[in-house]
Assembly symmetry: C2
Homo-oligomer: 532 residues x 2
């Protein structure tokens, strides 16, 4: 194979040919199933070694970079994205089948630049590092860069907002002053390359170390493991499937590396009897809208609905099925989408769920699948709780008809860890007692608990938790979305014990470095100088 | 085997005979090598199952317990320890060889009760949970109990301050409202039982769920793995050897459980030329005192010293060797101490270190070992950095003579993760340039960086980091000592998205529940009510 025709990788501060690539691949237009222009290399060990060495060189420069330089990079990158919304959205639409408008250009790209700018604000604010000062004991501590590279592996379903080279993990890793080695998702290599071009330009424009941002498009699995377990790597961020995530988790943790994973979630929605009595049709419409967003390919897409199996519950299930059947199937992300969705549905039906509507791929030029509703009884669910929680990634919803609210509570108790859980109740207080029982059971199973609200739409808020108990993620204490909390995943706690004042980092010196940074001084959160 | 003569385990809120124990063991008096009274069961699967079921029952009660009840328990337990200092210290001294006075009764027990009371204060203060309120987005979050049991495995070297039933991990797990299943260290079962008696009395006195605190003395390794990987267990805290920790780490992480480990550390001490010129003898004395504390059996005991190999450096090494040789060997913790220490020394000499003084067990009635100094050149160290960082747990110090300060820096760059690292420099500024280079290299390798100070003596301060990069611990973002930070290990981030106001937990309601709790409201740390 000659490499001359292959797209370049961004390694060591330069766009260069992949060294001895182990193969190549193209993007696929999911609306036509046709290969897209551009032949992208599957990198070999040589690219990985070069990227690791370059990242290590960047570590020192980033560690010593003034916060303004880091923030300036994030802002500069956001501005360059803003100046390229049309080509970026067009490229991503070709590779993913997602709509240019509103999704890509009006929702996801603005969210992406918002994240970059919120990251910049957090860097300037500095409070994220939790500076803690004990004047009596002579001890000070804060969070600092890890001292190594962060590898970010992006998912297929958000070509911008979770991209390895632009998404939340990227922002968090850079904001905490770690170089990023991005492993793009092979579903949208050209989009990732365009982002990397802009990121690289921004790196050069502000004068950060050239290898602050590096990009490899694809790696054979064993090389991927070598990358994440390399001594030069300090932490890993991954968003994707449970199967892929668990393999990386085992490898990373075996090498002593923190890895932050967002893997799978069926995002249960419980609808209490009072809510159904009050607004069954409206909730069915809400559920359908949420489940149909991006053809169901959101990590927070609702995949499991629980109601009481009475006349009202059955009527609601009918409304949902009818609404699902009326949705025009969206284009799925790529060739892998249909087998994955079919596999999920097979697992559900194999454990006793029945298909009410949908269940089949759609014949046509592109990848598409019928919106699918399944049903199972509460007793079935409780007999096969693991199997009936299988994620079917796409517009598919299992409606479980419970015997009564007590069985809804039991179902909540048998849930695995999820990113979200929603409870709908009546506008008054008729459902309050049931809510209390149900919320108590559901609360420890989910990272985010919602009332009267579908789970899609993740606000980039300081109070957001886009995380949750295993196996939704790998650790229940961290969020992948929201500033400044998301930054803590890529930082190390560092303590200074009787370190002489002039040797302390600025964030820990007596003088508040910005005049506004929040620090915990002798147990009190304060913006003042020590002794001030 | 009959179980009638065996000591009782504390399971399910009662002291009861171990069910079908798989064996038994006794404590050993390390000063005589004789078995101590009391035959303690090695628990079987039956005890584990019962403890897990009881802990699950306790989860709900603890979750709903008012903070004052949790704080009251911690205070009550501390008071009961205070009332039993003499018998506790006498018992621990018999089992561990540590001195009643000052160590056990005047240092470690006061630290232990201090930790319990600081935990109580953190619970009452409530600020630890990082309540974060976004009024505009309608999202609020905080850290909450994990929703399962915490298993704490205590080490041999701190029978009180790190005990599974009284130490820092215990306090942190209880303060975050999780039931604890303690696995005592088999080196001091009677001490652990005495503590558990007091803890259990305190649980009953304040009215917490009976299974809030449970105790098993010993488990076969495979049952230990079953315990920590059980669905009822939410997290694990472990302090002990690297070999033991890594086995538990693999098991826990494979099951998706967060595990917090404190494993091993050689706590490097770098002495710069100016410091040696100024106060070589004084530093040798400090090093010897620090290394001799508890016969070198502290996790922060200095085991590696780096100087420049010039006349001054060699003179310093001679001073240290002479001082070590003049220390009366202390009694080691138990029968396993000598083989472990010999194994560590064998690894060091096997990689080229030479013994300067000591190196042999001491003949006598108890377990003791000669204070040992080894030496190696900087070139040797850099040729075998892993081998020459082997922890020899006891009073043993490897002095590395570097060619120059540049080689000291290179040595720092080749260190594994450590809990601490110390740099001694002259009182003026002669060493400042060398300090800057060295500190830059050392900083990312250690959790706590010290100036002109030996690493032993871990202040229980909010700014403390008793943690550090792998393999000193399992995660660089957490500390095992210091309130409130240590609590975050045993808590889950929980978000409330448009949850109705009356359904929010008190910490997230508009009204500040204490009037003084610190919360982050719309980006500002505040003690006020929302809108107040």
């Amino acid at each position: 194979m000659t490499t001359s025709a292959l797209e370049l990788v961004l390694v060591g501060g330069n766009w260069r040919p992949a060294e001895a690539p182990s193969g190549s691949f193209t993007g696929v237009d999911p609306s036509t199933k046709g290969a897209l222009p551009g032949d992208f290399p599957i990198s070999s060990r040589a690219d990985v070694a070069r990227a690791l060495a370059a990242a290590t060189e960047a570590v020192a420069g980033l560690r010593d970079a003034p916060p303004e330089l880091i923030a300036g990079f994030l802002d500069e990158y956001a501005a360059r994205i803003d100046a390229n919304v049309e080509p970026l959205a067009a490229c991503a639409a070709r590779e993913t089948g997602l709509a240019v408008r509103p999704r890509l250009s009006e929702v996801e790209l603005p969210r992406t630049t918002n994240q970059l700018r919120q990251g910049a604000a957090a860097v300037r604010d500095r409070s994220w590092c939790h500076a803690t000062i004990d004047t009596k004991a002579g001890i000070r501590s804060c969070y600092e860069p890890l001292g190594g590279a962060v590898v970010v592996l992006g998912p297929n379903n958000f070509p911008f907002a979770y991209n390895a080279i632009a998404g939340g993990d990227f922002v968090a890793a850079i904001a905490t002053r770690n170089p990023v080695i991005g492993k793009g998702h092979p579903g949208h290599p050209a989009t990732t390359r365009m982002l990397a071009v802009l990121a690289h330009e921004a790196v050069r424009a502000v004068g950060l170390p050239p290898a602050t941002v590096q990009l490899l498009y694809h790696l054979p699995p064993e090389i991927g493991v070598e990358l994440i377990t390399a001594p030069e790597v300090a932490a890993i961020g991954f968003t994707g499937s449970r199967a892929g995530g668990l393999k990386l988790k085992a490898a990373a943790e075996g090498a002593g590396k923190p890895i932050y994973l967002e893997m799978s979630s069926v995002n249960p929605v419980f609808v209490l009897p009072g809510a159904l009595r009050e607004r069954s049709a409206a909730i069915a419409t809400e559920l359908t809208a949420s489940a149909s967003a991006a053809a169901g390919q959101f990590c927070t897409s609702p995949g499991l609905t629980i109601v009481v199996d009475d006349d009202q519950g059955r009527a609601f299930a009918g409304q949902v099925a009818a609404a699902f059947a009326g949705v025009t199937p969206g284009t799925l992300l790529g060739p892998g989408s249909i087998p994955a969705l079919e596999g999920g549905l097979r697992a559900l039906t194999g454990h006793g769920a029945q298909i009410v509507t949908g269940g089949k791929p759609v014949d046509g030029p592109g990848y598409a699948f019928q919106p699918t509703v399944l049903r199972a009884s509460g007793a079935q669910f409780l007999a096969e709780p693991a199997g009936l929680q299988t994620e079917a990634f796409g517009m598919a919803n299992l409606i479980v008809g419970a015997r009564d609210v007590a069985q809804m509570v039991a179902i909540a108790e048998h849930l695995e860890g999820n990113l979200t859980g929603s409870i709908y109740s009546d506008a008054g207080t008729a459902d309050d007692a049931d809510y209390a029982r149900l919320a108590t059971a559901l609360r420890p199973k989910v990272g985010r608990l919602l009332n009267d609200k579908m789970p899609t739409g993740v606000a980039v808020s300081p109070a957001m938790n886009h995380g949750g108990p295993y196996p939704a993620t790998g650790h229940p204490g961290f969020t992948a979305v929201g500033f400044p909390a998301a930054l803590l995943r890529f930082a190390a706690l560092r303590c200074y014990d009787h370190v002489r004042p002039h040797r302390l980092p600025p964030d820990l010196q007596d003088r508040n470095p910005t005049g506004t940074m929040w620090r915990s001084i002798d147990g009190t959160w304060s913006q003042r100088d020590v002794g001030g």
